[in-house]
């Protein structure tokens, strides 16, 4: 019997949609199956409270690969990214540290804290810019297999070695440091202002179960530095209509190329015959056949839930079982009657068009991690706050606002487990902390939604609520993601592929995994 589809993509998250779009663009007959009523996975916009639209989980865009925006012509499908220009960090002493869209203004602000750091800031920015450029080709490459004796892998490894030697000794050393150091240690080599280091290092801990003093976090610093909007490095933005609009734009592009997308269609398992994937079965029993099945889900569900363990080599199964998730982030979404005024910069103004970072000192962020390390949510957490309605007024009714609070740490494995009371206690800790920097906020709240890692798992399916489909730890990157020998989007089951953020290069609304997977599938002649 001929297969009904060339390819079935399990999961309509942004990576699955990118894979589907690229496959459809190449003339393949593609079906996307999404369990939820809408596409997007963790990149969705939902009206939780009447009139207020929430970017439920992920909230900023920047890592989306420019080649994808170009190839899929996403602006034509409604992608419109608005810049998020500033970051203000309120300090415990009532002062603040601000980084503005205007470079000179940022330097003047830094000078106020430390003339030395203002000097170092430019040099640091240049270095990170070069580092991001040096690493960029890696994002668009299929990782070679270091355990293979295949000449193609050896050649690719050699080329990789050559690339890194080509970037010059000084940058190579900086790269090794970035790959291995803690963000705090790395920043200590550059700056003296504590609040500056705290705020910068905070971007190194996002989505990890690590603190700013944990080795390996400097890499995540770089990972976030790779944000590239329309080819401009380090530009964070907010999608008009929320991150859900990004997913919708990719879905629209995929449909435009002829892909079929079905929502409310949860896949129960992948059909395997003779070591080869032949299609999928839905939870309602419907079966679809396909020449190729692609999973956009994380490695745990891709290999331990969708297919039988006996279809996989034992070593591989133990590797996947050891793959670390440990979700550590939560989210608090608020519908507001009015914008809060922060003590450090009173009133309402341009600061609300950017982010507020609750990272007053390195010790503050590190202590937030200490709580999580022993199984508690942070009593005073690190937070990244944005007001999407200030950038896109369509997100809230006139005069009202939505506030998105990304919170760390909220460990998935909470002592005693998560329940409704713990969730509310976590929400209270978040609001009490913000209230200490912005008194009066609590009285402006019309509605609050608190999301724990367990909620993220329940709603999106992301294992342990890890927003990156697996920790971005050094031993889980590149040719180790998700397992050594299986980082090329293929799997031990023939015609079964993986395309989620659990593959190289990993999380963020980047789409690179989805694109590389599609190219691998097409390269295999599917």
């Amino acid at each position: 019997m001929a297969a009904a589809y060339d390819a079935i993509v399990i999961g309509g998250g942004h990576n699955g949609l990118v894979t589907a779009a690229y496959l459809a663009r190449a003339g393949k007959k593609v079906l996307v199956l999404e369990k939820r009523p809408r596409v997007g996975g963790a990149a969705v916009t939902e009206e939780i409270f009447p009139g207020f639209k929430f970017t439920m989980f992920s909230y900023v865009v920047s890592l989306l690969r420019p080649e994808i925006i170009r190839d899929l012509d996403l602006p034509r499908h409604g992608l419109h990214v608005l810049p998020l220009e500033s970051t203000v960090t309120p300090m415990e002493n009532g002062d603040y540290l601000a980084a503005w869209g205007d470079h000179d203004e940022t330097r003047r602000e830094l000078y106020r804290h430390s003339p030395r750091d203002a000097e170092a800031y430019d040099e640091y920015g240049r270095l990170m810019h070069h580092m991001a450029h040096a690493v960029r080709p890696i994002l668009s490459m299929v990782p070679p297999d270091p355990t293979s004796f295949d000449p193609r892998d050896l050649l690719a490894l050699l080329r990789l070695g050559k690339h890194f030697r080509g970037i010059g000794a000084e940058r190579l050393h900086a790269l090794v440091k970035l790959m291995t150091m803690s963000s705090a240690d790395f920043l200590d080599e550059w700056f003296e202002t504590d609040v500056l280091k705290a705020t910068k290092s905070a971007s190194g801990i996002i989505g990890t179960f690590l603190g700013p003093r944990s080795p390996g976090t400097a890499y995540v610093l770089l990972h976030h530095y790779m944000g590239e909007l329309d080819g401009v490095f380090r530009a964070w933005g907010f999608a008009k209509g929320g991150t859900g609009a990004v997913s919708e734009a990719i879905a629209s592009a995929a449909r435009g190329f002829g892909a079929e997308i079905r929502c409310d269609a949860p896949v129960a398992r992948v059909l395997v015959k003779g070591g080869r994937a032949t299609g999928v079965a839905l939870e309602n029993g419907d079966e679809f056949s396909a020449k190729v099945v692609v999973s956009g889900l994380d490695p745990r569900r891709t290999f331990l839930e969708l297919i039988e363990e006996r279809e996989l080599p034992g070593d591989f199964v133990s590797d996947i079982k050891r793959f670390k998730f440990r979700g550590s982030s939560g989210k608090v979404n608020l519908a507001l009657d009015a914008l809060p005024s922060f003590t450090c910069m009173p009133g309402v103004g341009r600061q609300h068009r950017g982010a507020f970072s609750i990272s007053p000192s390195l010790e503050y962020v590190e202590r937030a991690y200490d709580d999580a390390k022993y199984g508690e949510f942070s009593r005073r957490p690190y937070m990244d706050i944005v007001f999407p309605s200030m950038i896109d007024p369509g997100m809230a009714p006139p005069g009202k606002h939505v506030m998105s609070v990304f919170v760390q740490y909220a460990p998935y494995h909470l002592n005693g487990g998560w329940n409704d009371a713990k969730r509310e206690a976590f929400g209270d800790a978040v609001l009490n902390t913000i209230e200490s920097f912005a008194p009066g906020l609590k009285s402006q709240i019309l509605h609050r939604q608190v999301i724990t890692p367990l909620d993220i798992e329940r709603i999106t399916g992301l294992s342990e609520g890890n927003i990156f489909q697996g920790e971005l730890a050094l031993h889980q990157l590149f040719f180790m993601r998700p397992a050594a020998g299986w980082a090329k989007f293929r799997t031990p089951v023939r015609a079964y592929y993986q395309c989620g953020a659990g593959t190289h290069p990993g999380g963020g609304i980047m789409g690179a995994s989805g694109r590389l997977a599609a190219l691998a599938i097409l390269g295999d002649g599917a």
């Binding site: 004796f149 050393h173 150091m181 944990s214 080795p215 390996g216 022993y374 050094l474 031993h475």
Partner: protein, 449 residues
């Protein structure tokens, strides 16, 4: 005053690396002087792997290498002790009483870790691979190292890539469930590091300290190599001699001792790089000075002794009941405080204990009392001394090993000061490996001068 004799090489530091370097140079016909600020040879045992090559090549006899059996004892919360032996099966039996599942995994764990330590051993008895080289010879050497690893099989390659950057806690959690066992093993992962067991790179530190030991023994041996070296003829050693490098116009000309200057064609320092370069700063490039200043060498270990009333009933006692205990001990150090409940390890010689206490930021009576209480001896019987600087002259973190040690770009023992070489634990392969840095350095010096 008669002019001081001219030496081919002056070595600063009569520690194991300084002496090894001196003897290799002397055996090649160089006139070598070793100077050391200490009044007399250090008779304490040397902790760490003694590469057999060094003993053989220098024709040393009488080097005693001790590794007690059982190599560790750890008290159990319900009374009794977990004792681990050189005999893997015997250890597995001991572990079985705590966890049958851990016991079943023990032999495989020991084999896999031993294989990785073997890779490190191969890397340690030669200079760090120079990743920036354009020389064919060096490229071939790197390729050879790569092949050496690949020949050990796919599993070893995967283990290397996966385990080296990991935290020791993650590694141990992958394998074992028992807290006592994980505490004993985890402690080796944080040795001399200002990191807790959950920090990436501590699995490497664990393997570094496994180097030179048989499978299933995770504490380095103790040896008499330094004493034997000090008595080995061939080099002249001057004790009680504090020396600083003298350089003119970016070239080392000798060392200054008090008001005297000993001139030498080559100066080799096994001292801390930060200390070695301090007087030379005006002649050094600002970037290099910054890199040296950035070497992380935060001392967090207090060593000392304790006196028991009667001979100890253990050989090595480890007081680190769990990974969380180690992590909490580190939490204090992270914020600049001495651990409220430190990790203590005691090596017994009759009724005398040699102590390793971590994490100690400062040494105060409170710490002495805590250590005494943990060991169950009167506080008056415990004496602790702070480490003068970091024992390894730089922590063994992933950003400070191989071609990044002591500072990026200068891992080949030579320095920006012509004629000045480093040979101490601050260079590759770092502390805890007796004499490897000294031998590697001497070979480079002999090739270059």
């Amino acid at each position: 005053m008669s002019p001081a004799p001219r030496w081919d090489a002056v070595v600063i530091g009569a520690d194991v690396n300084g002496l090894v370097a001196a003897h290799y140079l002397a055996r090649a016909g160089r006139r070598v002087l070793v100077v050391d600020e200490g009044a007399k040879p250090d008779t304490r045992p040397e902790i760490g792997w003694v590469p057999p090559k060094i003993v053989r090549e220098l024709g040393m006899t009488g080097v005693r290498i001790e590794q007690p059996d059982p190599w560790i004892a750890a008290p159990l919360s319900g009374g009794g002790r977990l004792e681990l032996w050189r005999d893997v099966t015997k250890s597995a039996e001991a572990i079985r009483r705590l966890s049958p599942s851990d016991a079943a995994k023990w032999p495989e764990f020991c084999t896999r870790m031993r294989r990785l330590a073997g890779v490190l051993e191969a890397l340690y008895v030669q200079p760090a691979p120079d990743v920036e080289t354009r020389e064919v010879g060096e490229l071939l050497r790197i390729a050879g190292l790569g092949l050496h690893v690949r020949r050990l099989g796919k599993q070893t390659v995967i283990d290397l890539l996966r385990i080296l950057p990991m935290s020791i806690a993650e590694l141990l959690d992958d394998w074992f469930e028992n807290d006592t066992l994980k505490g004993v093993l985890g402690a080796a992962g944080v040795w001399h590091l200002r990191q807790g067991p959950r920090a990436g790179g501590t699995a490497f530190n664990f393997l570094h300290h496994h180097v030179g030991s048989p499978p299933g023994v995770f504490r380095p041996p103790r040896s008499t190599i330094t004493s034997v070296l000090a008595a080995l003829p061939g080099v002249e050693t001057r004790w009680g001699t504090e020396a600083a490098v003298v350089a003119v116009g970016g070239r080392a000309t000798g060392v200054r001792v008090g008001s005297d200057e000993y001139s030498a064609a080559v100066v080799v320092s096994s001292a801390d790089p930060q200390q070695t370069f301090e007087p030379l700063k005006p002649q050094l490039d600002a970037e290099f000075v910054r890199a040296v200043g950035n070497i992380k060498s935060r001392s967090i270990v207090a060593r000392g002794t304790a006196k028991l009333e009667r001979p100890a009933d253990f050989k090595t006692l480890c007081l680190a009941p769990s990974l969380d205990h180690l992590e909490r001990a580190y939490d204090d150090a992270k914020y600049g405080r001495t651990s409220a409940r430190p990790y203590v390890e005691a090596v017994a010689t009759d009724s005398r204990l040699d102590l390793h206490v971590q994490y100690a930021v400062t040494i105060d009576p409170g710490l002495v009392e805590k250590v005494a209480a943990a060991l169950g001896v009167p506080a008056g019987q415990v004496s602790l001394e702070p480490q003068a600087g970091h024992l390894y002259h730089g922590e063994l973190t992933l950003d400070q090993i191989l071609f990044m040690r002591p500072v990026p770009g200068w891992s080949r023992y030579r320095t920006p000061i012509e004629g000045l070489y480093l040979c101490g634990p601050g260079t590759h392969p770092g502390g805890g490996i007796a004499g490897a840095a000294g031998r590697n350095a001497a070979r480079v010096i002999l090739k270059e001068t």
